[in-house]
């Protein structure tokens, strides 16, 4: 039995591209149906996302959150765990960041606060991932169910904490006081301007660099360490993992700790990077979108960066589109995002087998 090889670029580039094109084609039909010109709409979307400095900044700012949650989902998934709780873990991670900033911003400089905030985000996010992980590993509850539940618990907990404990006295708005400026992560445009590089004002901040570092970390961890080897063994063949003497419960728990910690970094970007106070619902669905990002990025850090940028572009370009063409409501933008997820995730195999077959036949002939 000989096995012909499909060229790598087919799987990495051609098939995802075809899927996205198809999604845009169907989106075009939707836009046509509501009486707008799809070409014009696509123009606004692409221009909004990539056409000018601020647009790119916003795209990358959204992508930052999606890289964190996409990585979180992928690490758990590599271990065969479907972590639906990225949303809650991100939310609680933000609590960790907020508490560090609120307690230290009067006394400490940024270079002390920032590393502590990173640790706070990771520890709080990981803790929120730990309970479902423990329940699955030692008590046999299904992690999909528990992580979904924990999103709701996180949401209620944050309302309680912010309204009753962290709200600024004498104000009606349910958020904490604004941090002192020494607890703000620097914006990239501020960092670049002394170098004479002008990249336009946007919320893009230092946590984007941290997100890229996390990609390197996940890549090394999953593909090049013993622990990653055990994780991948567990994820692809749990029976083989037991055969190999891998402590599956321990690997499961650690996978969720790392996953939760990565999701928690959304708090860095949102709380410390942009909002500068602790507020409600700052996670805005990034935890769930991370599932799509991981799916589309094939659980591979580079793929996740690309998918996160695509989704970031849809967020930013979509906002621009809804602004320019009032008939296209934000809901239509959500439809477009949904179509991208549908075609690149759920319908991944629609072309895959045929295209692979084509290349195999060509290689044989």
């Amino acid at each position: 039995m000989s096995q012909a090889k499909v060229p790598a670029w087919v799987n990495v580039a051609l098939i995802p591209l075809l899927n996205i094109l198809l999604a845009f084609l169907v989106s075009g039909l939707v836009i046509l149906a509501i009486g707008e010109n799809p070409i014009e709409a696509a123009g606004y979307l692409i221009y909004g996302a990539f056409g000018y400095d601020e647009g790119i900044g916003y795209t990358l700012y959204y992508a930052t959150n999606l890289i964190f949650t996409g990585l979180a989902v992928s690490v758990a998934f590599k271990g065969g765990l479907f972590n639906i709780g990225g949303e809650g873990q991100a939310y609680i991670g933000g609590l960790g960041v907020g508490l560090i900033c609120l307690s230290l911003d009067h006394t400490m400089p940024l270079y002390v606060i920032a590393p502590l905030a990173v640790i706070g985000a990771a520890v709080f996010g990981a803790a929120w991932g730990y309970i479902p992980a423990y329940l699955q590993a030692r008590r046999g509850s299904h992690i999909v169910i528990t992580t979904i539940m924990f999103n709701f618990i996180a949401s209620s907990l944050m309302v309680y904490l912010i309204v009753n404990w962290l709200k600024e006295d004498g104000r009606m708005a349910p958020n904490s006081r604004t941090f002192e400026e020494n607890a703000w992560l620097p914006y990239l445009h501020e960092l670049f301007s002394p170098l004479g590089i002008n990249i336009g004002d946007s919320p893009l901040n230092l946590s984007f660099i941290w997100a890229l570092l996390c990609c390197v970390f996940v890549w090394g961890l999953v593909w090049h360490t013993r622990w990653g080897y055990q994780l991948r063994t567990l994820g692809t063949n749990p029976t083989a993992a037991r055969y190999a003497g891998i402590d599956t419960a321990k690997v499961t728990i650690w996978a969720m700790l790392i996953s939760g910690g990565l999701a928690g970094f959304v708090g860095l970007n949102e709380i410390m990077g942009v909002n500068h106070n602790l507020l409600l619902n700052f996670t805005a669905g990034y935890g769930f979108a991370g599932i799509a990002v991981a799916l589309m990025g094939r659980n591979n850090p580079i793929g996740i960066i690309l998918a996160a940028i695509l989704f970031g572009a849809l967020y930013q370009g979509g906002a621009e589109l809804a602004f320019e063409l009032p008939t296209i409501t934000p809901e239509i933008v959500v439809v477009i995002q949904g179509l991208v997820i549908l075609f690149s995730g759920a319908l991944e195999h629609m072309f895959k087998d045929r295209i692979e077959g084509f290349f195999i036949r060509r290689a044989v002939a």
Binding site: H224, R226, T233, T239, Y243, A244, G245, A363
Partner: protein
């Protein structure tokens, strides 16, 4: 007279693999026709085409001289073709009757269909002497009877051509004999039987004609009376093969491992392993014979540390291992126990891994493969290259996904991994399952070589030929317990077969 079934130039390709190439086959009505070939020769693909699971790329099928277009299993059933799969397609908690009418219920209300089916089944049972209690629950029936349900199911749907895919894989020799008597009875009633197997003895014992497949092609047709096992084996592999293992007498010395009264319960609290005691000696191969599912897998899992025992103890490498002081699979490996598991896909390999990654499974914590933080890819690759050369793994590409190697080469990867660690004790389950004849010989030689270097080997196999050829001492398991032990020299197929069915005492009136 037209043939019951005739294949004309059937070809089928999966991607780069030509699974069937210009297959022609003529099966006269009312005969038993054997189709043999190694694993991967294309037998199963061909049967799947006849039964409508796949469509042929080219060629066509004729039934009773008329061309038929089979695009689904329903088409096949309508054409009078029935299939008994290797893995039964039965609903275990349904009764025999319910299983038989499944898919042919005869209307929305079950009552009428069941009544009619009961009568029809009685007729069929009488006509073909296939006695069975139609109200029995399938999972409570022995495997041989479950297979009979499958046959009845096909006949109930009006099958005049019956395809059996490796029907004896799960049966005791006695059950297999019974099956062949049934097939003879079917034949006398005019049913045409297609028997797919890789067991030459069965072909010789039961068929009228035999066709041999090799690498997707039909290479020979023979009348069974005019051929021999040696002839067929040669046609199958394309060269002379040795069906016996050459080995000197064993020189057993020290006991390396002893197990005392091992018992294990499954999650339902059923005792799967019952007070098993055994000793493994250096320089000896201990064979465990038994029909699959009689506690052999549990024994391997307990000995290798994969599942903890509930009772009993193991003495190994100066340690006492029991329920209070268990050792897991990694700890057993550290004590120099290697384990080639029965099912390499489920357990022995991670098929999504590249070969060099799968080649360290279980030993991935060894300092050989690790730097301070990262794993040492170069060391893993170098070693994998060396072993692939030494063990003749094809293709010798450490980056190929494990799933893309053939069964024999996958097994070589697993055995090389375990044997090259220079273990004191090797547990090896189904060493040649799904492996072609050429590789079987090689694997058997390696096992004997390891024995001769003074290691202890525990061999579990459902192939009696293999047990008898390799073992120095044989233990027979039935229903989780050891029911007999004998020297390999005194073992013959009949004795072992009776012991495996736990019928030795009753039939022979002597104790085992």
């Amino acid at each position: 007279m037209p043939y019951a079934i005739e294949l004309r130039d059937i070809s089928k390709r999966f991607g780069a693999v030509q699974a069937n190439k210009d297959i022609c086959l003529q099966v006269p009505a009312g005969t038993i026709h054997g189709i043999i070939g190694e694993n991967g020769a294309g037998k199963s693909t061909l049967m799947s085409i006849i039964y409508g699971f796949y469509e042929a790329d080219t060629g066509h099928i004729e039934v009773d001289g008329k061309r038929v277009d089979i695009r689904s299993s329903q088409d096949a059933i309508n054409a009078g073709i029935g299939m008994v799969h290797q893995h039964f397609m039965l609903v275990e908690n349904f009764s025999v009757l319910e299983n038989v009418i499944l898919g042919a219920e005869g209307g929305a209300v079950l009552k009428n269909g069941i009544g009619a089916a009961r009568l029809e089944l009685q007729r069929l049972a009488h006509e073909y002497s296939l006695d069975i209690d139609v109200d029995a629950i399938v999972e409570e029936l022995p495997v041989g009877l479950q297979q009979r349900v499958e046959i009845l199911k096909a006949l109930y749907r009006g099958a005049r051509i019956l395809i059996l895919d490796e029907p004896t894989g799960v049966l005791t020799p006695q059950e297999a004999d019974h099956l062949f008597r049934i097939l003879k009875a079917l034949k006398e009633q005019g049913v045409t039987v297609l028997l797919i197997t890789h067991k030459l003895r069965e072909i010789m014992a039961s068929t009228d004609n035999v066709s041999v497949m090799r690498q997707g092609e039909m290479v020979a047709h023979r009348e069974t009376v005019n051929t021999s096992t040696e002839d067929l084996a040669e046609l199958m592999v394309g060269k002379k093969v040795r069906l016996t293992v050459h080995k000197d007498d064993a020189q057993p010395s020290d006991v390396l491992l002893s197990a005392k009264n091992l018992s294990q319960f499954d999650s339902q609290g059923v005792k799967r392993l019952k007070n098993v005691s055994l000793e493994l000696r250096a320089g000896e191969i201990l064979g465990i014979a038994g029909v699959s599912g009689n506690g052999q897998s549990e024994l391997l899992n307990v000995l290798s540390g994969i599942t903890p025992m509930d009772e009993g103890e193991i003495h190994f490498a100066g340690q006492v291992i029991n329920a209070k002081a268990p050792k897991n699979a990694a700890q057993m490996r550290d004590l120099k126990m290697a384990h080639v598991p029965e099912d390499r896909h489920k357990m022995g390999l991670v098929t999504g891994f590249e070969a060099y990654e799968a080649a360290v499974l279980g030993y991935h914590n060894s300092p050989v493969y690790n730097g301070k933080i990262l794993m040492n890819r170069k060391a893993m690759l170098d070693e994998c290259n060396e072993r692939m050369a030494a063990w003749d793994v094809r293709p010798p590409n450490p980056h190929l996904k494990t799933a893309n190697f053939s069964g024999g080469n996958q097994q070589k990867i697993v055995i090389a991994r375990e044997v090259e660690q220079n273990p004191e004790v090797l547990l090896i389950g189904q060493p040649t399952r799904g492996v072609d004849i050429g590789a079987i010989e090689n694997i058997h030689e390696q096992i004997v070589k390891l024995r001769d270097s003074g290691k202890a080997i525990l061999l579990v196999s459902v192939e009696l030929d293999e047990i008898m050829a390799l073992s120095d001492r044989i233990i027979v398991m039935f229903d989780g317990a050891v029911v007999g032990e004998l020297d390999a020299k005194d073992a013959d197929e009949r004795t072992l077969g009776l012991m495996m069915a736990n019928a030795f005492n009753e039939e022979e009136g002597v104790s085992a």
